[in-house]
Structures are given as C-alpha cells and as structure tokens.
C-alpha cells in the first residue's frame, strides 16, 4: 500500500464507532473517531482525511446534514453513510450515487467495496 488512507468515523455509539475503527485498522486503513458530527466539524482533520464514514441518526447534526455540509465544500471528501434503519429516501439518494450506504451490521466485503469506490472514484 503506497500510503495509508485516513478514514474519519463519526458515530455517537461508542461500541460501534470503536468496532468500525478497529475494523478499518485491521484492513490496513488509518481511522480517527468522532462521537458527533459537530465534533468532526470542529476538528481540523476534515482536510486531512480521505473519506468520512458517518452514522445517519445522531443527536444534534445528523449524518445526512453532515454529508450535505461536506458536499458543499470546495474539495469534498467522499462520504459513506451507515444506518441501522431502512429508509427509502436514503436508499434512493444512495442509488443515485450521491454517497455509499451501508447497513448495520456492516459486512467486511461491503465495507471494502464501498471504501474502494469512494477512494478511487
């Protein structure tokens, strides 16, 4: 691997965030954890990371709002949404290619595929 990609993991659920970060590490990615969208925005890491994986439902700013915010930036990084609930609107948006949508629990294969698309595309 020529250089380590850095992935931002945004999720209010400690267990899942930790698990996802660990999974990314074991897959050879670098991972940084954020307990909320606000925490991610407040940090200076936005420019540094190559991709954001965010939970959709969070107290405060939702993953969707975070996605819109990132998309409005000059050089947006790709965003991967993670959700535990089925939601048609979200699925339609994902189908249009706005972002990659992952269902909890997240399978390794789906995660790798999403990451590859996001990072190469």
């Amino acid at each position: 691997m020529p250089r380590e990609f850095l992935i931002a993991v945004v999720d209010d659920d400690d267990s899942f965030r930790l698990a996802l970060a660990e999974s990314l590490c074991s897959l050879g990615y670098g991972a940084r954890e954020f307990a909320s969208a606000e925490e991610f925005i407040a940090g200076d890491d936005e420019e540094a990371c190559d991709c954001v994986i965010t939970d959709v439902r969070m107290p405060g700013m939702s993953g969707l709002e975070l996605g819109h915010l990132i998309a409005s930036r000059q050089s947006p990084v790709p965003v991967i949404m993670v959700t535990a609930v089925r939601e048609r609107g979200l699925e339609r948006a994902a189908a249009k290619g706005s972002f990659c949508l992952l269902k909890k629990p997240v399978g390794t294969d789906a995660l790798i595929e999403c990451l590859q698309r996001a990072l190469e595309g």
Binding site: D13, L18, L20
Partner: protein, 472 residues
C-alpha cells in the same frame, strides 16, 4: 316474562282476538269417555284440606291448589279471587308449573275466569292465549284449562282451576266432579275463616315484595361483584394494553438499541478473525477485541431483559427508588424515538432527592407515556422548535415531583378536566389510555398527577408528585 310484569297487563295486549267459541271445549268434555270415580283419592284430598284448615287456616287456599294438582294429575292448579273492587282477578294460590305466577292477576273481563263467572258454570278451555294474548306470556302454555266457579256465601267470587300443559292428558267429567267437590269444600272452609282473603292477599303481597326485594338485593350484590371483577379484569387488561402500546412506540427504539451492540459485535468479530488469520497474530489485541464483543453482547442482553420486564405481567413492587434514575431509564428507552423526531430534551434533575417507594417499571411507564405524549404533541412543529424539558424537584420536605413540559400547542382548556379519563383522546389513532394509566399508577403510589399549559417552553406541562417514605 316474569310474574311481576304480568301484574301490569296493558289494554292493547288484552283485547280479545279469537272468538270465545274457538277456545271453549266444555261440550266435548261432557261427551268424553270418563274414568270411574276415584273416591279414595277424593277422600284423602278432602282429609288433607280438613287438616290444613285445622293446622293453618291461612294456607287453606294453597293446600287446595296443591291437592287439586295432585288429585287431578294436573300440571298447574290454582285459585283466582276477584279483588274487592271487582275489576281484577288476583291469583291467590297456585301449585305446579305456574307457581311462579302466584300473586299475579288479570283484568276481570280479559280472561277465562271472567267467562266462567259470567256464565256461572264450569268451563273447559284450550289454548286460551289465542283469545287472551296476555296469557301467552304465562309459560308453559295451557293445553287445556278446567275452571269451576268458587262461591262464598252463595256468591261466585272467583274460580278454581286446573291446567294441563301436556298434550296427551285430557280432562274428563271425573276431573270436573273432583274439582267441584274440592271447590265446595274449600268455599265452606273459606267462609269459616272469614277475612282470610284479605289476609292472604296481604301476606302474599308482602311475601312477594319481600322476595322481590331479596332478589333485587341479591341481584344487585351479584351485579356489583361481577362488575367489580370485570373492572378489575379490564383494568389489568388495560394496563397490559398500555404497556404493549408503549412497547409499540418503543419497539423501533429498542430494536435500534439492540442492533447497535450487535452491529459492533459483528464488526469486531470480523476484525478479530482477520487478525487471527495473520502469520503472527497479535493475540493481546485479539483478546481485547474479544472482551469488547463480550461487553457488547452483555449490553444487548440487558436491553432485552429490560424490554422483557416491561412486557410481562407481574405484581407491582414496593422498592426504594430514585426518581432521577427512573427519568433517566425512561428516556433511554425513548432516546432513538426522540432523536428520530428531532426533539431536543433538556434535563433538570434536582440532586440528593429523597427516595420514593414503588414499582420501577410502572413509574417508568408513567414517564415514558408522558414523554411520548409530549413528543406527539409537537409533530406540527418544525424539528428545530421541538423541545421537551424534564425536571425533578423537591416540592416540599415530603414530596418529590417530576414534570414534563413541551413546546407544542398546549392542551385545549376544554380538555383539561377530562385529560386523565380513560378512553379520552384527541388523537386519531390512540385508545386514550395512556394518561389514564399514568394517573392510576401515580395514585396507586399515593401521589397525584395534573396538567396545565404553564410550560416555560410554551406548550403543555404535565407533572406528578410522589410521597417520600418519611411522609405521613
């Protein structure tokens, strides 16, 4: 139809329908082959009447009815007497199937008794209800009815009658002879006891009144008991329904809560497997991942336990509890639901509150219901305006209170008085049991619940208070 209602025969139902001739069978009776006279039976019956007269003259009429029934092998037998005003027949004594009708009566001119008195002769009838519809309610119906006039001082004042309800037993002239014989004896006896009719009438009326009163009282008692049982049962059902309804609201939230640790377990497990597959696995790291999975599995299991407790029917507990714990636990159930609705929850919990005594699950239900109500009240608002404030405080040294306020439109003042009544709801889909159950739970805990529109957030405020164990 009961004997009581037969005392009040309306004129409409008393209008004769079939012609008299169609129900009279007297001529056939006289021409029917007759069995030989049974003087032995007749004598024993008359002997019984004599003994009745000697022992208790007041029951002579009932003894007569009993004996007529027995000697004639009838199904019902009795004695009808004209009332003093001569307008009605009063059923002074009845034996057999019609006994329950004793004490009842018919208007003078709307029954076979009137026909017999008018003609002053014995008569045999068949299915008299065809002419006298009100007798159709005296069940069982009379297949045949044999009536003889009853005389006092040479004047016919009533009738003695025998009825068969079976259709295979026909009266004959021997029956008529026995009936007349017993009737003569009874009227003689009757004259000797003078004013017995009044006495009988009074006694019967009093007995009837007493019986009715007793039946009414027994009936009422039974009704109250049955109703209490039913209410207790329904109350338990409602509590269960309310729990299940709350669970319906909570289901998505709980599913989400359980799914989080499960998702973490799957992801961590896959990471651990990947690390194990390496040439030189980092066992320390894998042990740490495995520990995390165990902890997450425990968390999922605890959530399921909480859910199960809430869904099961169980006797309420009496345990020392912290109201703040109850508020926190209740809101943890709803966290997901509140997030979905974009509701901002602010908590203002007083510290070092005295404990209360009660049932944790029930009180959680109160807070859950109140919060769900608050959340549902704000669906018309844009998410940014949806706020709920939950507060606990010490209202006096012996009372702890909890209030839930929202930024919704508030409660229509007209609805305030009925808000906590069962089945009161302003929602399209809702049983209106939520707040009724809340009140019932709070009151069972010795507290009170109330609602007003004094929320600092501009909407409704519902608060309840609970006594602390130190409270008298």
């Amino acid at each position: 139809m009961t004997a009581i209602s037969q005392n009040f025969v309306t004129l409409e139902t008393s209008v004769p329908t079939a012609p008299l001739a169609s129900i009279v069978r007297t001529e056939q009776l006289l021409n029917r082959p007759s069995r030989p006279p049974d003087h032995e039976k007749e004598n024993s019956a008359l002997g019984a009447l004599v003994r009745a007269l000697a022992d208790s003259p007041r029951t002579i009429l009932q003894t007569l009815a009993n004996k007529v029934l027995e000697v004639l092998d009838a199904d019902s037998a009795g004695l009808s007497l004209l009332t003093k005003d001569g307008n009605r027949f009063y059923w002074a004594a009845i034996a057999g199937a019609w006994q329950p009708h004793r004490g009842g009566g018919t208007p003078r001119d709307f029954g076979p008794c009137g026909d017999v008195l008018d003609r002053n002769t014995p008569m045999l009838f068949t299915h008299w209800e065809r002419r006298y519809p009100y007798l159709g309610s005296a069940m069982p119906l009379a297949e045949e009815g044999l009536l003889v006039p009853f005389y006092v001082n040479g004047k016919a004042v009533g009738t003695i009658w025998a009825i068969v309800h079976r259709n295979n037993r026909k009266f004959d002239t021997e029956d008529l002879r026995l009936l007349e014989s017993m009737g003569r004896f009874a009227s003689a006896a009757y004259q000797t006891v003078g004013s017995i009719e009044e006495l009988k009438s009074e006694i019967a009326a009093r007995e009837k009144a007493e019986t009715e009163l007793r039946e009414l009282a027994d009936g009422l008692e039974a009704q109250v008991y049955a109703r209490t049982q039913e209410l207790a049962h329904r109350n338990a059902q409602f509590a269960q329904v309310a729990r299940i309804t709350s669970l319906g609201v909570l289901a998505a939230s709980i599913a989400h809560e359980v799914n989080q640790p499960l998702a973490a377990i799957v992801t961590t497990g896959e990471s651990a497997l990947r690390r194990l597959a390496r040439d030189e696995p980092d066992l320390e790291r894998i042990r740490m991942l495995t520990k995390r999975m165990v902890a997450d599995a425990r968390r999922a299991s605890e959530i399921i336990d909480r859910t199960r407790e809430m869904a099961s029917q169980r006797a309420p507990e009496q345990k020392p509890l912290s109201i703040n714990d109850i508020i926190n636990e209740s809101l943890s159930f709803l966290r997901h639901d509140l997030e979905l609705r974009g509701i901002a929850v602010s908590l203002d919990l007083a510290r070092e509150l005295p404990q209360i005594v009660g049932d944790r699950i029930q009180l959680q239900q109160v807070v859950v219901n109140m919060t769900v109500n608050a959340a549902q009240a704000m669906t018309q608002l844009v998410p940014a305006d949806r706020c709920v404030s939950v507060r606990s405080m010490l209202s006096d040294s012996e009372t702890v209170s909890c209030s839930i306020e929202d930024s919704g439109p508030g409660i229509d003042p007209e609805h305030l008085p009925r808000l906590f009544d069962g089945f009161f709801t302003t929602k399209d889909a809702g049983m209106g049991m939520g707040l009724a159950i809340c009140r019932s739970i709070v009151e069972t805990h010795g507290g009170g619940i109330r609602a007003d529109n004094n929320s600092a957030l501009g909407g409704a405020r519902i608060s309840f208070d609970l006594p602390t164990p130190g409270a008298g």
